[in-house]
């Protein structure tokens, strides 16, 4: 297919690209409109019928979407600064994004190295893998304060403790998928490398790792969003007020007075997660050269 596309005149290709981009934007708008309609429709139906299952619907449990959006452009009643909520949240999102990014980088690097090491030493893998899995069954909320206290006693900046907590959620999918990717190399491709008298390191570097990239990138997509969750959760025990986590704790306390504040914060947090996800998709498109049908 790609060769055929390459032979088409440039004008046709551009027109096709524009058509496909317009189609995607149209689809996005359509999906958002449907979600909006479902939210408001559910709300309207439940209030009209007085249904209380599974929960009572009113403007506290399900505020109007336009109220949530309008709140973004107001000064929140409980907010300290003079800025509108959107500006405050964007500052907070930027702060959380930095923590998440550092956490993601730490976790992804560690996860990748762990996956590589475990793939090379079968015995180590058998001994260590259960603990790697067990590490993820420990609730992050229980670990977070311990990390903050430990690192705090070493005079590490609180935001870095948060990054470490984010990395705790990040490393696991990367480690597991790296390991899986490195072990699923085509047997004949390995035999070819052996017939070229390639050593273990060359087989790893020139064959196993490039072949595992699609696996690694699907883990990075999961991890990118997990790192945001980790950063938000980590902010609470560190009593960091500058990030989205601080806003969430704060708005949670005043939920019954102004539920729109929390919903608006969740919206920004979700958008931040999507931004991280798309960044990985972009990097993958640049780095991984595969047959189109192989790109996840």
């Amino acid at each position: 297919m790609a060769t055929i596309a390459a032979e088409q005149p440039a004008g046709h290709r551009r027109a096709a690209a524009i058509r496909s981009a317009a189609g995607r934007v149209g689809m996005l708008v359509l999906v958002l409109a449907i979600l909006w309609g479902l939210w408001e429709g559910y709300r309207w139906l439940w209030i009209r019928e007085g249904w209380t299952w599974p929960f009572v619907v009113d403007s506290t449990t399900m505020p109007h979407i336009y109220d949530i959006l309008r709140q973004l452009f107001r000064n929140p009643t409980s907010g300290a600064g003079g800025d509108i909520l959107l500006v405050q949240l964007l500052h907070a999102a930027w702060f959380t994004a930095k923590e998440a990014l550092v956490g993601f980088a730490l976790g992804a690097s560690f996860g990748f190295l762990l996956g590589v090491v475990l793939s090379q030493f079968r015995l180590l893998q058998r001994g260590l893998l259960p603990y790697v899995v067990a590490s993820q069954t420990v609730p992050i909320l229980a670990v977070a304060p311990i990390v903050v206290v430990y690192l705090g006693s070493l005079h590490v900046a609180p935001w870095f403790s948060v990054a470490v907590i984010a990395s705790y959620l990040t490393f696991f999918p990367v480690a597991i998928n790296t390991l899986r990717g490195l072990r699923s190399t085509d047997r004949r491709a390995v035999e070819l490398m052996r017939s070229y008298a390639a050593g273990r390191l060359n087989i790893l570097w020139k064959l196993r790792i490039p072949a595992a990239l699609p696996y690694i990138f699907s883990a990075l997509k999961v991890s990118a969003t997990a790192s945001i969750v980790g950063a938000i959760i980590g902010e609470a025990p560190s009593s960091i007020q500058d990030g989205l986590g601080g806003f969430i704790v704060n708005f949670n306390q005043y939920y019954s007075l102004a539920p729109e504040n929390l919903w608006a914060t969740n919206l920004i947090a979700a958008l931040l997660g999507i931004a991280f996800f798309l960044a990985i998709v972009l990097v993958e498109a640049i780095v991984v050269r595969r047959a189109p049908e192989h790109v996840a």
Binding site: L192, S195, Y196, A197, A211, V288, R289, H294
Partner: protein
């Protein structure tokens, strides 16, 4: 001196299956040897043992007077599988230059050799294509170019054209003969196709299954260089018939010998 010297070779797999038994085979320099036989006769296993990809249970394999392991370390083998097994993330050029990178050739020498190889397999103009942008026949030509790039003494091919259509297959057969005549390589070629084996080879090694043995070796005395016209030569038909009869003989004997036990196991 023989390029390949196999003596008393037996291969028994872990499950107890005897894949090969009592194989003796000597391959001279610049020969084109085809291994032919029904599924399960161990022809691919034999090829893998020659290439030091698996170890024999008994017997010895010498390649250029060395052990197979030493020959592999010295990069004496080029291998081509049924699927091209190209690396998707490398362009055609970089696929061909992979063995050269591993042998630490300079960038300049690599570029020169890749160009020669592209010329040899008639893929000039496709240097920067990725494997998935090529047809199956083109992919297999890249795979052959890669195997030949470092001038291996011995080219091991495991049904390289088995997945291709008949037309492409016959064209690549001709191309392979041309490549073989232009290079100094000795070929060991595994195939299912009698016509292909006769057309390409200097000798056809006919194998029979359970356990894998060599039943006959048939010299192919057709003149070189061979052209497509030789496929219509009466001598070609005679040789095809001889190989076919040898194949059936091997299978019939196997059937008579194994009939009672096979019924019991299946």
């Amino acid at each position: 001196m023989s390029v390949v010297d196999i003596k008393g070779l037996t291969k028994r797999f872990d499950g107890g299956t005897v894949a090969l038994e009592g194989i003796d085979l000597s391959i001279e320099e610049r020969e084109f040897i085809s291994l032919i036989g029904p599924s399960g006769c161990g022809k691919s296993t034999l090829l893998r043992i020659i290439g030091d990809l698996i170890q024999p249970t008994k017997g010895t394999v010498q390649v250029n007077g060395k052990s197979a392991a030493q020959a592999r370390a010295d990069r004496d083998y080029g291998i081509v599988f049924q699927d091209a097994v190209l690396y998707d993330w490398r362009t055609v050029s970089r696929n061909i230059s992979l063995p050269l990178e591993l042998a630490r050739w300079s960038r300049h020498r690599r570029a020169e050799r890749v160009k020669e190889m592209l010329d040899l397999v008639e893929l000039i103009g496709f240097e920067r294509h990725y494997p998935w942008q090529l047809s199956g026949g083109m992919q297999q030509r890249v795979s052959i170019a890669r195997a030949l790039s470092f001038d291996p003494a011995l080219l091991l091919m495991d049904e390289p054209f088995g997945a291709l259509d008949e037309m492409t297959r016959e064209r690549l057969n001709l191309e392979l003969l041309r490549i073989w005549e232009a290079s100094a390589s000795t070929m060991v070629f595994v195939t299912h196709s009698i016509a292909e084996a006769v057309f390409l080879s200097t000798r056809v090694v006919v194998m029979s299954p359970r356990p894998g043995r060599i039943s006959t070796v048939i010299p192919i005395d057709l003149p070189h260089p061979r052209t497509a016209a030789i496929r219509e030569d009466p001598r070609f038909f005679d040789l095809v018939t001889r190989v076919r009869e040898a194949l059936h003989l091997g299978i019939d004997v196997d059937r008579q010998l194994a009939a009672p036990s096979r019924e019991a196991t299946s």
